[in-house]
Symmetry: C2
Subunit: 149 residues, 2 copies
């Protein structure tokens, strides 16, 4: 793994967030595409199948330039931001969740309101999550695997 | 990854099987526990969410000692065996699927009959698959991750 590029600030936030979410019982995948044109930083699935999305913002400009985040609300039961301690968190909408993170861990500061996925959408999200995780896992475990069909 | 132990004959069959299934559009995970006391060699999910289980048998004794395989039928839409070219495949029940494999690839020789999962069971299997894949992926990507809670 020594040829892995260093993590970006956003990826560091995602790593710490995923560590904490795992401690809370969630399985996480990063950089998942729930629908064409959307790419979420972290999607997390709880023990009961609940789906959270976490967008990681390393600075004000990173947040200000995000024109897509409201589109993510349709793909999860709860939506959170993950930012570091220096981020001006009053910029973030009150009706979203907040996670304070660094590269090594995180803390859930404000719970997000729940807006439950409809069953058909939930099933589609679950399948996308499962296939994404399994295909990436196989690519890491088996370097001889062929490119995605 | 240089400290990874060599693969067992069964794991070699699983690797070749997963490579082929991936070419067929399936995402695969290995050594998944769908329910306490059961551990399947390969669980594969197709693009439409269909679930296959593949049990890998490296020799006659390996098959003869398996007392659990019929329990796997309740956890998939189709059930297959994966064996190598030297395996006496007439030992295997006719109403199961057959994959010929080695460590590098595989071929689907006999399609398995379909016995579709009930919706509630399918959802449970899908969640187990997704969480298993994501938690293993995270453990490989992030060596600093804490043990499973």
């Amino acid at each position: 793994m020594s040829d892995t590029p260093p993590l970006t600030p956003g990826q560091m936030l995602a790593r710490g967030t995923c560590r904490h979410l795992r401690d809370l019982g969630f399985a996480c995948v990063e950089e998942l595409v729930p629908a064409p044109g959307l790419r979420v930083d972290v999607m997390a699935m709880g023990r009961k199948g609940e789906i959270w999305i976490v967008e990681c913002k390393s600075c004000r400009a990173d947040f200000a330039s995000d024109r897509k985040w409201q589109g993510y609300l349709d793909w999860c039961d709860r939506f959170f931001w993950a930012v570091d301690a220096d981020f001006p968190s009053d910029l973030l909408p009150d009706d979203t969740g907040l996670i304070l993170a660094d590269g090594y861990g995180a803390e859930l500061v404000r719970e997000a309101p729940e807006s439950r996925l409809a069953p058909a959408r939930r099933r589609a999200v679950l399948q996308t999550f499962a296939r994404h995780a399994a295909l990436r896992l196989q690519a890491l475990r088996d370097p001889g695997v062929s490119p995605l069909p």
